[in-house]
């Protein structure tokens, strides 16, 4: 009975100004759909990974602006909702192979980061709860590793860029820093390089071909090899 009651619970929301009643168990995306909207834009993975549904909302009688991924935010009573389908942004064009992992690269390709006034508005907007201002600041001082770590969870939703009074696009700066870090600063996986060499030298081909043949002609034998293979995952 209690479960029944929970199921019925409805909340009042305002979708682009129009009032709707929707079940309290929905997220913002599903609330739009329940109300009869069909998305083409402003939606992507529906799982919190692509940033396409990043949105803003307010509560009735509250001056504060809130930020969320529409697919990850439960509807609440008296929410003012909208869709933000697109945010224009400049991205620097570069060939990573021709860049040096020097701190100054970030400022050279994105000189506008020097305009950051440290107002922290970007951080307040981030639905991933990242310290956006801190990574922009780290970018100004050329600390590529710090930018990479602080920005790693960025889903490039664009909310920070939309709010920045200095017109900075933090997520593009983070992207560049992470690629520089991954390519030039992080230690290389030498065991991978070694394995690639072995593969080029055809070290495993005979056995692989043998298995392929068994798979086609004597599956039972291959099954036996499979079952008897040593399992070392501890």
């Amino acid at each position: 009975m209690e479960e029944e009651a929970e199921k019925e619970k409805m909340v009042k929301v305002y979708i682009m100004g129009r009032e709707f009643e929707v079940p309290a168990t929905l997220n913002i995306v599903k609330a739009f759909e329940y109300a009869g909207y069909r998305f083409v834009r402003g939606i992507g993975c529906r799982g919190g990974y692509c940033g396409a549904c990043a949105t803003v909302y307010r509560f009735k009688d509250d001056y504060r602006l809130n930020f969320a991924l529409a697919c990850q935010k439960a509807v609440e009573n008296n929410m003012y909702l909208t869709i933000l389908p697109f945010m224009p942004a400049e991205k620097a064009i570069y060939d990573l192979n021709n860049l040096k992992p020097r701190g100054s690269v970030l400022l050279e390709l994105y000189p506008e980061i020097a305009r950051c006034v440290a107002c922290n508005t970007c951080t307040k907007a981030c639905p991933q709860e990242l310290e956006v201002m801190d990574y922009v600041q780290a970018a100004i001082r050329g600390d590529i590793e710090e930018v990479s770590n602080l920005s790693f969870d960025c889903i490039q939703c664009g909310l920070c860029a939309m709010r920045c009074p200095a017109e900075i696009v933090p997520y593009n700066v983070g992207q560049l820093a992470r690629r520089l870090y991954g390519k030039y600063i992080a230690p290389q996986a030498m065991h991978t390089h070694k394995r690639v060499e072995e593969i080029h030298a055809c070290v495993f081909d005979e056995e692989l071909d043998n298995y392929s043949l068994l798979a086609k002609e004597d599956v039972e034998k291959l099954k036996k090899i499979y079952v008897e293979r040593e399992i070392k995952v501890g």
């Binding site: 209690e2 479960e3 929970e6 168990t25 997220n27 759909e33 329940y34 009869g36 069909r38 998305f39 083409v40 939606i43 992507g44 993975c45 529906r46 799982g47 919190g48 990974y49 692509c50 396409a52 990850q72 935010k73 439960a74 991205k91 064009i93 990573l96 991933q128 709860e129 990479s148 790693f152 969870d153 889903i155 490039q156 992207q175 992470r178 690629r179 520089l180 870090y181 991954g182 390519k183 992080a186 230690p187 290389q188 996986a189 030498m190 991978t192 394995r195 690639v196 692989l208 298995y211 392929s212 798979a215 099954k223 090899i225 499979y226 079952v227 293979r229 399992i231 070392k232 995952v233």
Partner: protein, 548 residues
Amino acid sequence: MERGYPEYMLESIEFVKKTRERRLKEIPELMTLEEREEILRQYHPDYKEDGKRIVKVGANAGEFMPHEVADLIEAYPLIEPEQIDLSTIDYDSDILIIGAGGAGLTAALWAVSSGADINRILMVTKLRMGDSNSKMSQGGIQAADCEDDNPTLHYLDVLGGGHFTNDPDLVKWLVREAPMIIKWHEELGIMYDKDEEGCMFVAPGGGTCRKRMHSCKDYTGMEIVRVLMDEALNLDIPTLEFTSAVELLMDDAGKVAGAVLWDMEKEDYFIVRAKATLMATGGFGRLHVQEFATTNHYGATADGLVMANRVGARIIDMDSVQYHPTGSSYPEQIVGLLCTEKLRGRGAQPVNKYGEEFVYPLEPRDVESAAFIRECAKGNGLVTPTGMPGVWLDTPLIDILHGEGTIEKEFSAMFLKYARFDIDMTKDPIFVYPTLHFQNGGIVINKRTGVVGVEGLFASGETTGGVHGKNRLMGNSILDYCVYGRRMGIYATEYVKNATVGKLSLDHVTKYVDLLEEAGIPKERKAPILLPEYRGERTISHALPLLG
């Protein structure tokens, strides 16, 4: 933090807590091959007789498929061939790539580095570039690049996981090229988890005999795809977003020769003529087979299967569907979303409402899912306030085993996902149930990604079949789109050097319609469906196209 569970679920959590200590030592045994077969037969949704039917038309006529897929194969085209003006070519290209997820982007990059003319490539995609299943993958990518591992062991695991139904040759190239992919990714600047010496952090996965899963925290797919996108943007590869392919074009010689595209926003069509057409449209989670919730992105509607089937491509293994054992089942707002297998790889255990373990945590996915379904059928699961069944996944074990902070560091995406709903997965277990995850089967291709029996058409990624057989192991499908996406880029570039295109035609569609009519298929059924329909019933039943 508040505890975001209702009272009766919190009571069950108390049982889970009580048994935790004991379960640290006692882990259930792996099933034998026979036991696996038995549980699959009894509980796996694939084995449900009334879940599928024999399709009547197309290259796969006479074969079993889930109703949801059969409904797409036995469906009329969205466009009527006579409406379409083929005399004006809007885009004349060498290579048309349909879909900008992992497979599409990888193919585009490798086409460019293999010498394709960038300006004669066209990539089209339904949503934005990169919005795809590929962006969502969490756990990782398999590659046998560690000392105690090698590609032959990887080979055995892939085949064993697929119950020996895979295409043995496709698997060979998959495992053989895996380490090269990791190396390529490193060169692109992808930040894999490594130690100070550069040694990759590897985790085990269901059905693997070695730790082989490479990850980028639990944002593996996002990290890979955003780098591929950045590279595609740097190279300025011509791309059309919010544009769906709705039908393939053929020429008078019977080769695939481009596609009819539909602008999702302006709602008009255009014609692309292409020497090679590359299908990278991904999977079918949004078909909600047997009404399961899904982990997949909004555009995962099997369009590629439909279009390819109409030009005569065969599809295989569609009778097997991958349900991921651990989809979120509570709270309602995130039902169906994935809880990565790596959680179990790092020690989280499935337990029932009494806090009892009931299955080895890392069986192959189909077996693990069947065990969850069995447990709930036995009445040992719980039901959420919105009616979703499920069992517990005891995540706090991870921090107990590997130290406090491990979850927040390695699973920051997952942690945030639950924290948004006041659930602290480092303290309380999470509530899970199998969710529709992956399209095991698909279009039949050869090792050069050519679609078998159809000239001018290539395919790779989740839309294809054979690589994984009837069951895919975790981490092998990122690998799949990398290895075969790359091959697709390379071999399509090679192909277009000497390829020509004749007069464009949609006759194959007309013929297909004739077959449908003969088979008595109801006219309202149309495909591809492009986007799932989630609007309220009232809106759907009262919708009128008054503006035309």
